[in-house]
Point group: C2
């Protein structure tokens, strides 16, 4: 099928760029001696995870148990879920998943560890647990002062295995924290096998944090306007382009596209919602669900009603989650239509 | 099923409140002599649209052709799509839809009207077209100076019928514009059957715009934190509650919920992402895809890890679009599980 046969809005993936992104990340991790574990949240598509594993990834990352179920059913059997899994129904599903797969989760508090231990014991199987350390972003994670107690709780549970430490994001300022945690655990006779880093710029910072053994990165596979603005990718590394149509030109300075927040999401970078390839001076300054408002005042050339344009979104992962299909394109040809198999899996 | 058997995050709809919202809106429109046409984007569920029509709505609104196809297949045959429909594949689908249904679209420029005319002629059927007038929000819409020419273009097309005018939003400042447009059309011998207003506060402003004949409102069916803050609904009118779990309590002042932007969307109101019913002083101040960051510093009572809370989201419509199911709840009982049939329909 010719790409112009797709209606708009459609989310196109440039296959040449995606393949180059996958190869480059793996080469760089190999060169650093780091095990690479792609975060599947960016694509949510088993066929793309397959390409990542074939390139050399040691396994995958999912953020939810329900996502891991999708990927496990497709044969991915080494899955890391970097999240506190809570609630009897969730830990029950997690335990069932771990019966035939190597499942590693994270925890930052005793209650989560207790729930994991109960579920693993009930199913007589083993769960691997990383301790999540708090970082400067102030999200989840425990303090260094808690790691020995948590690691001992994990090791004391017959069916849990203390697998190591994880942080998000792994930027140079987190190194002293990791060193301190590894040191205090070592002084208490507890070894740390895995030190897992992650986040959009994790590769670029990895050489400065030699304690890391694994990286979790997702966005690199497609990249987006945020990765470009942060200097982690070039415009030509962006594999996701949202095809959109100019549906209205109410004034000389304004265009309206059919790619609103239902297509691009409301995530922003620098107060913008993406970059229009054909009109680099244009600014997508507001979204409603089915309308993107574009300021054309800085543009020499301006689009007509009915014209098709292509938007690099501000944040690629959240775009994937809004769509039932992504379209893999090479040149002008739609080579593959992927169902976004793990879209909308929130449990 | 007891509501606590649902894992989190789950989107709960309080059936008593939803039914009261539907009845109240219809009564008020009836009292004003206004035809009411609910916008289905808020729920995307035919069974709820059925309740709205049974209460007295004259038809429904969809924002996309692909959404209208879902509702038409469920028997809704008077559908308004207030959008410029462009592109041969879309106008072809629109024309097929209009063969057996009463379909009204909008247009704000000659190119859209020409495309509609071609598709309607090719299928030898009739399409009803409203002219969209620009309002103060600066989205789509033509100026009053264009309405006569556009109305003549519509009337000149054998298979198009000029149905009237539409605005979004219909606030008092739009009234002079509507009066002027109706006046100039009248002076050129063109009658205006429908004057369609819409938006979150359209009901509250309707009495000040007696030119209106129809209202398009969606949000009222569930309401959300934005409608409360804007004074259009009370807290007890909010029917959508997102059940979430406290998955981490990294500090005394911070909680992390499992309802991130993949559950609540990134839409904000007053820099917040929603209102936590159990902790009214808490502030959801940031979201990642699977993490909501909550500031508890103003709270006397604070939640424990594992505790279930309920969030009224900032914007209800975009939450619906992220989920495969909504759960209709009465008291503690899940009375109905609805598939969000028109979720993700962007074409």
């Amino acid at each position: 099928m010719h790409v112009l046969e797709l209606e708009t809005p459609s989310v196109l993936i440039d296959l040449d760029r995606m393949e180059a992104n996958i190869a480059r990340m793996q080469e760089r991790c190999d060169a650093l001696g780091l095990r690479f574990r792609p975060h599947t949240k960016t694509h949510k598509i088993p066929a793309i995870a397959r390409l990542q594993v074939e390139a050399g990834a040691v396994g995958i990352v999912c953020q939810k148990v329900s996502e891991a179920e999708i990927f496990a059913a497709e044969g991915f059997n080494d899955i890391h879920i970097p999240y506190n899994i809570l609630g009897e129904r969730k830990t029950e599903r997690l335990a069932q998943l771990a019966l035939y797969n190597r499942i590693t989760v994270s925890a930052d508090n005793p209650k989560v560890i207790a729930g994991l231990a109960d579920a693993a014991a009930a199913h007589d199987m083993s769960l691997r647990v990383l301790i999540e350390l708090a970082t400067e972003i102030g999200r989840a994670g425990c303090g260094v002062e808690d790691v020995v107690q948590l690691a001992r709780q994990i090791e004391a549970a017959e069916h849990l295995h203390f697998a190591g430490l994880m942080v998000y994001p792994s930027v140079p300022s987190t190194r002293p924290l990791l060193q301190e945690a590894i040191d205090v655990l070592s002084r208490h006779g507890i070894g740390v096998d895995i030190v897992s880093g992650g986040g959009i710029g994790a590769l670029q910072h990895a050489a400065d944090i030699p304690e890391l053994t694994e990286l979790r990165v997702g966005t690199y596979v497609f990249n987006d306007w945020a990765t470009v603005l942060k200097g982690y990718a070039a415009l030509d590394d962006c594999a996701m382009h949202v095809a959109a149509t100019v549906v209205s030109r109410p004034t000389m300075e304004r265009a309206i596209l059919d790619s609103g927040s239902k297509t691009l999401s409301s995530d922003t970078i620098d107060n913008g919602y993406g970059f229009i390839l054909e009109y680099p001076q244009a600014q997508i300054y507001r979204l409603n669900e089915e309308h993107a408002y574009v300021d054309l005042s800085a543009c020499d050339e301006r689009p007509d009603v009915g014209e098709r344009v292509h938007v690099i979104p501000a944040h690629t992962c959240v775009v994937t989650n809004l769509h039932d299909q992504l379209y893999g394109v090479r040149g002008d040809t739609v080579e593959v239509v992927w169902a976004v198999a793990a879209r909308g899996k929130v449990w």
